[in-house]
Symmetry: C3
Subunit: 389 residues, 3 copies
């Protein structure tokens, strides 16, 4: 909010949203397991991960053997604290490293979860950047994994930076930027904005953008939406992966549900579960790389640049190649190899019959969109091209 | 016939069938080449393969050099007796291992083929298993290679077993099961059933299912018929091969002729000619493996299961994902990886907009059809899905 | 002209042609750089490559340091003389091996380009071979690189030979054969023939056909034109490469401009720039191989054979396979493997439902077009096939 014009929405608990009801608000002050002499052996103050998220309040004494079913360890990396939640079934529990649990002597422990579950609100932040048209790009990230760096903070950081950059640009498209808790947050937003979803022309869910893996674009359910093609062009051009849609992952699951079927893809590096640190205490700031976050912002700006500037042109001298030399668009001494700039001019001229956009030309030619855009700008200036109706 | 309700049809020789006429019936009692002192050096009683099938009767004495053009050996494996036929040109001949022929001393031999070629009938067996609808699945195998195990008996065994299993199941589809001599048998059946071929919705020709090679599905001429997609899904899922149509092989050649163009594919392991023992005395029971025959029956039941149960559904809570947890369809403690069962639920929900069947979802998701079918059953019970009109 | 009926067209300089104007005619008698004592150190009489093509006249004395910017060497192979042009900007220059230039002592040189730039004409040769129909195949090669062997002479040689062969054949199609200077030549031809371009059903630009690389077919802009499919079938069948269209290369650039969009591909071996000798003195007769030139003619005749003879047939006995044996079209003794000839018969019968041409069958079956053509001829003679309306 200090960087971009953010509106914070509070939606009361109990509100119905599509098939869901906003659950009670959970707040927690403290939680611990302590020995008889008061030593905290598992302590929320060290990390919120030590408590199963959405744990109901408890204040009791238990023998270790009774407590054990409530104590969770990481399945494959016992030295890490796992991240666990129990949103829709009332429960409570603690998470810890195995060594911590193994060191506990038998006996009776004080068990406290000082949490509150009750009326309140679901909170999400929204930033709308109007453009020359009402056509809207939806950009969203989840904000519901406290203490997790790649699978939460990285999306927030990248989307804030991106929003800040977009805010200062001339925009043809409008941008709707969303910071919301996963699943229920996007469901609430969809329910509250159903009457204006027809403006959404493209969208991207951002997550896990800080690790060292290559950029990954997962297509929308539609698969060949404009955003899918723009993102595939940019991500593949940067050596990244392009994957087909799956109804798993983050909030693209909601945006791509069949009743909405919005053209929303997902940009990540590692997918959920692909990096060992996923949903554990090891998904911390050490995992994030500056250059990964920066490249994510760059790639997003490139993708949005395609969406902003993809146009279909008509070659005004379509019979034969026009004489570029006399218009200063061609090297005067022939005989050498064609530069990418020359090829871009020739591709745009050759393909611009009013049926193919610059992105079509980029896909067919293998040339970068920005190169073709510069070529089309030069040809427009040279009077050889006109925008198609 | 002792296992399934089989009708045996006898069609008189001389009957016209499409472009063909049923040729004379061939019966053989005995055949041999014997030395002057009566020793049988080639003997039908040892194996029918020693006589060229459909050999006309002969009873004569010949010098070895005259006889030689009538003696056939295996081209690449001289120790095997080749399988030869001469259905449509009157001729006679013998087949033997090269060593047998090389050991024959010059001299005069008694040559006898005690066969009869004359009026009779073409015989085929047919079993019809009616289902809830008249939509019909045609299952066929050839029965014209006496003594050959993989390229004849395996298809008969598998189809009998399959028919027996189908007979005891509830069937939406009807099944037409055919045991007929190759080429002329299917041509006769087609000619006699032309007015009801419109019921045939899918079909499979079975052959060579007992050897050790992986399952092989060869598509119908149409290439993307429902049976092609169902069989490709099952066979590829079992690590088998899926091949494009060719007008070579077995009776799929007739079913896929352009005047009928029935959606009939072919399930085999080795193709004709792909295994060295093909059309020789080495294609005997030693070549057949129990587990190959059993897997063929299983795979066929799976393919037919897809044809029986492929449906198109509509998600009744299509906006966002429905809350599966409160319906007992989702694990209550989050944070772990998705199970295949969860993914199946989400895929069915995501894709069920009335335009995609479960088989479409199986192809897109890479999940097995039966998993998706169980998911759709659970969602139907949960009130989240309805069958599409 | 001594081998084929060639019409030589002279089009006056200054004539407008599409977006271009025919530039002044360039003729050159002599050119050199000579030392003060008259020794020619760079000499046009040794090779025309020593002068930048289209150099304007000059006769002067210059100090070596002034002259240097006019002296061009090969960028990667300094022992070769590069080929340079300056068609559309008035300039002059010389090309030489680096060693020649390095050996020049400082001092003053006599610099002479005894050229003429003035009114004249653009010259191109055209040969029209009428066929039974006006449907026309355009075959073209460039004639503007004097002294270059692969990137000029090879196309001229192959096209002359091809034209000579076509002249003596019965032709269904008409052939328009063009020898013209690159770019401006095809542009002038297009401008002068615009009203009859609708006859052009297919075309091939020929270039660089004499080197040792595999045959290469570059598709037309359309990509799936009849000529693209015919050429891909033949070239791939000979182990060559098939590439997608690019608006770079030779005169296919003009024929495929969006205002004409003629179905014209390009047959080469190495592409422009793919062989190191490209546009240098090393692209000489030593680079050409007889067998490469001969195979190019053969491949072209094969491609044109597909265009001449591709037909769509209807199987007159479409229900089941017709009995080929009684028509002498099938081996009488069964049991062996199918020959390619048999398969060709079966493929043509199976696919001939009036919707698929022989080229379609060739693509689907993987069999060679000529084999299928022989099969269809045999089936026509046997009364089993008729040409589709």
């Amino acid at each position: 909010g200090s960087r971009i014009p953010l509106t914070v929405h509070e939606v009361p608990t109990g509100t119905r949203a599509l098939d869901w009801v906003i659950p009670d608000e959970w707040n927690i002050r403290d939680a611990y397991v302590a020995t008889a002499d008061g030593e905290r052996v598992i302590d929320f103050r060290a990390s919120n991960l030590h408590v199963v998220s959405y744990s109901e309040p408890v204040r009791t004494r238990m023998r270790l053997e009774e407590l054990r079913p409530r104590l969770h360890v990481h399945e494959t990396r016992p030295e890490w604290v796992p991240y666990r939640t129990s949103y829709y079934e009332r429960s409570w529990g603690f998470c810890a490293a195995r060594a911590t649990l193994d060191a506990l002597p038998e006996g009776t422990y004080e068990v406290v979860v000082d949490s509150m579950l009750g009326p309140g609100s679901l909170t999400y932040g929204e930033c709308y950047l109007p453009g020359a048209t009402e056509d809207e790009v939806l950009l969203s990230t989840h904000v519901c994994h406290p203490s997790l760096a790649n699978d939460n903070l990285s999306g927030i950081v990248v989307l804030s930076e991106l929003a800040s950059a977009l805010a200062s640009e001339r925009r043809r498209l409008s941008y709707r930027i969303l910071f919301a808790p996963g699943t229920i947050g996007s469901i609430v937003w969809l329910a509250r904005n159903e009457d204006r979803l027809h403006h959404v022309r493209a969208g991207l869910v951002l997550a896990c953008l800080g690790d060292a893996a290559a950029l990954t674009y997962k297509r929308s359910r539609q698969g060949d939406a404009r955003v899918d093609r723009a993102a595939a062009h940019v991500v593949a051009g940067r050596g990244g992966r392009v994957l087909d849609f799956t109804p798993w992952g983050w909030d693209e699951r909601q945006f791509n549900s069949p009743g909405f079927a919005l053209p929303v893809g997902c940009l990540t590096r590692s997918l959920e579960g692909e990096f060992p640190e996923y949903h554990s205490s090891a998904d911390n700031l050490d995992l994030l790389r500056d250059e990964s976050l920066e490249e994510a912002v760059e790639a997003l700006l490139e993708i949005l640049d395609v969406l902003e500037h993809d146009r279909t042109y008509v070659n005004l001298a379509p019979k034969g190649e026009p004489q570029l030399g006399r218009r200063g668009l061609y090297p005067s001494t022939g005989g050498g190899a064609a530069s990418e700039e020359q090829l871009a001019l020739l591709w745009v001229l050759n393909q611009s019959d009013g049926s193919r956009s610059l992105l079509d030309v980029a896909e067919r030619s293998g040339l970068r969109f920005d190169l073709l855009r510069r070529a089309s700008d030069a040809l427009l200036r040279g009077g050889l091209l006109a925008e198609s109706e």
